[in-house]
């Protein structure tokens, strides 16, 4: 009796499931397609696509465009530029943000909320709002020799690193202070009673407990800073010092007749972030959603 009554409903659910999967599979195919097409284009020699067009059965498929792109466009060199900017920027951002978050969660005072708002709002501001005066400031501030070879912040690695730190601080402070609030307060007090200095408490007690949050944020920040195009474009003038995303745009001048090599170069630029995403996926998603679930 019950089974008979349940039957139509189950069938309805089943049909619903099929429709759902059909929808999701269709969407997935649409989502993957642009990447597949880029890969397909990159695998074909230019001579083949010139004769037969891009929509044609491939005569040959090989990685020659990737090799040519790597060698002629000197991509390895631009990866290094990106590395010079990204690694210090991520580390210093996390360090400074953890200090602020620690201090803000340690001492409760009226000014905390104001500071938290100031950092957060700074991160939400469209960068184009500040770019014009920033450009002037970057040209005006004198910087000593070892850090800057032209005596300024403009057109320097240190200038790019600095703006990333400043801009990313807000997000990291927000996430880390949310995270630190979930740690038991007794930890702080116990350390104080034992006579540990405030820095010692930060260094030996709170920071180790924040490792999961720092790992998640580090993964996320690496991707953000690696992917930056805007700051590199406007604050780095010398083409040979630009990071790989901005260099990709410059490559267009060099290879404007060869879409196949450009596709290969674009895919190579994407590889590090895709690898990081696949390898550290959980960290990645956690970083994005850390604040939303309060650790």
């Amino acid at each position: 009796m019950t089974t008979i009554a349940a039957l139509p409903k189950r069938r309805r659910i089943k049909r619903g499931r099929i429709a759902l999967h059909a929808f999701l599979i269709t969407m997935s195919l649409i989502w993957i397609f642009p990447l597949v097409w880029a890969f397909f284009t990159a695998m074909r020699p230019l001579s083949d696509t010139i004769v037969h067009g891009y929509w044609s059965w491939p005569q040959t498929l090989n990685f020659q465009n990737f090799i040519d792109g790597w060698n002629n466009a000197n991509l390895g060199y631009y990866y290094l530029n990106t590395l010079i900017v990204t690694v210090p920027a991520v580390l210093i951002t996390l360090f400074l943000a953890s200090l602020v978050a620690f201090a803000l969660t340690r001492v409760r005072s009226r000014i905390n909320l104001f500071l938290l708002m100031m950092f957060t709002a700074g991160n939400l501001l469209p960068p184009q709002v500040i770019i014009v005066p920033l450009y002037t400031i970057y040209n005006a501030i004198p910087i000593a020799k070892p850090f800057s070879d032209n005596g300024r912040l403009y057109d320097q690695y240190i200038g790019i690193i600095l703006i990333h730190i400043v801009f990313q601080l807000g997000f990291c402070v927000f996430v880390l202070s949310n995270y630190m609030r979930t740690l038991p307060k007794e930890l702080n007090e116990a350390a104080l009673v034992d006579g540990a200095s405030i820095f010692r408490t930060y260094r030996s007690i709170i920071l180790p407990l924040c490792t999961p949050a720092l790992a998640a944020l580090g993964t996320l920040e690496f991707t953000f800073i690696y992917n930056d195009f805007f700051w590199a474009l406007l604050l780095m003038f010398t083409g040979s010092k630009r990071p790989i995303t901005a260099a990709l745009n410059d490559l267009r001048g060099q290879f404007f007749t060869n879409e196949n090599i450009l596709a290969a170069a674009a895919l190579m630029v994407a590889i590090p972030t895709i690898v990081v995403y696949i390898a550290l996926q959980r960290q990645f998603i956690r970083g994005l959603t850390l604040g939303s679930t309060k650790g």
């Binding site: 759902l20 999967h21 999701l24 969407m27 997935s28 989502w31 642009p34 067009g53 929509w55 400074l96 803000l104 340690r106 001492v107 500071l115 100031m118 700074g122 939400l124 501001l125 469209p126 960068p127 184009q128 709002v129 500040i130 770019i131 014009v132 005066p133 920033l134 002037t136 703006i163 400043v166 801009f167 601080l169 927000f174 949310n178 609030r181 979930t182 307060k185 200095s197 405030i198 820095f199 996320l220 991707t223 953000f224 690696y226 930056d228 195009f229 700051w231 406007l234 995303t245 990709l248 745009n249 596709a263 994407a270 996926q281 998603i285 994005l288 959603t289 850390l290 939303s292 679930t293």
Partner: protein
């Protein structure tokens, strides 16, 4: 570009996450801190605060002041440079690119709010249920988010180019004219919006999924016992308790629309139908011309519009972190 990141951070929705914070504040707690500790705390907050003030807030205020001048970036600014509202009057009445740019930004926002963001939410709701392969689908929809917009631009150019995928397919059976998706000035903004959505939808999906996961499961059970359908449960029960996340989603969407720059710049430097407030600022003040004063007035317009979502967001943060 400073990415799609914005803030994935939201006060937790609904009953599960209410009233976080509140570290009990015994008065006089600070007295155990030594002088050195207080100095250390001051430095911990002070240095990053000084950096943010100097490199973000000082330029913001400088933008406002510069917008009342005709400064061109060379030499000092004197009283002679002050021109009052002249930049704004020129901007609103004579500068032919301003209104198209503003309309493109509004279009961007409308497209995101009406199509991309709801689609992201829909995917999140569908994938939140226990279905086979949910993880796989999530990864597929999310992967464009990890790509640089520079890469996204290049990948979609291969779709839109005259000899690219879309035109090739359109030509299979007909001798239709080639559609120049990126060169046609009334078409290219839509082409860019599709590419931008490819990335935005996955981002919204992840944020919303995290919100859905933190909803108290008993709410869903209760509503199922009461005989509500899945759709009713979402619209009447889940969506309302997700209010804090919904605000975040709206803020993220608005901010993303205002920040839009990279794709337009990569395709044609933000000209010929792809003008945006952001590209007008850089094109006037840094790239071709050095109309610092005039460019700043566009920056101020962008700032004023941006303050709406920023204040909305901060009032949220205050409410959940405040008391």
């Amino acid at each position: 570009m400073p990415d799609p990141q914005v803030l994935g951070s939201a006060p937790a929705p609904g009953p599960t996450g209410a009233g976080v914070v509140t570290s009990g504040g015994r008065k006089g707690r600070y007295s155990i801190l030594t002088r050195r500790d207080k100095i250390a705390l001051g430095l911990m907050v002070g240095i990053p605060t000084a950096l943010t003030t100097f490199f973000i807030w000082l330029p913001t205020f400088a933008s406002i002041l510069l917008s009342f001048t005709d400064y061109q970036g060379i030499g000092g600014i004197t009283a002679k440079n002050v021109v009052g509202l002249k930049n704004y009057i020129f901007l609103f009445t004579e500068y032919t690119l301003f209104w198209p740019a503003l309309i493109h930004n509004v279009l961007w926002l409308a497209f995101f709010i009406l199509i991309a963001t709801p689609l992201g939410i829909l995917l999140a709701v569908l994938l939140d249920r226990e279905i086979r392969g949910s993880r796989f689908y999530q990864n597929v929809f999310y992967f464009p988010v990890v790509l640089s917009l520079a890469v996204v631009g290049f990948i979609w150019e291969l779709q839109y180019a005259p000899d690219g995928f879309i035109d090739s397919v359109l030509h299979l059976n007909t001798q239709a004219n080639t559609i120049d998706f990126l060169g046609n000035r009334s078409l290219n903004i839509w082409a860019v919006l599709v590419a931008a959505s490819w990335r935005h939808i996955g981002y919204i999906m992840v944020l919303y999924l995290a919100g859905l996961k933190s909803v108290d499961p008993t709410l869903r059970e209760a509503s199922a016992i009461d005989g509500a359908s899945e759709r009713q449960t979402f619209l009447r029960v889940i969506f309302p308790v997700m209010a804090p996340i919904n605000v975040i989603i709206v803020v993220v969407t608005v901010i993303e629309s205002l920040r839009a720059f990279d794709l337009a710049f990569i395709i044609n430097q933000g000209t010929n139908g792809l003008e945006l407030l952001s590209t007008l600022i850089t094109n006037n003040s840094i790239s071709e011309a050095s109309l610092v004063g005039f460019g700043s007035s566009i920056a101020v317009v962008l700032l004023v519009i941006s303050l709406i979502p920023i204040i909305l967001y901060l009032s949220r943060v205050m409410r959940s972190t405040g008391e």
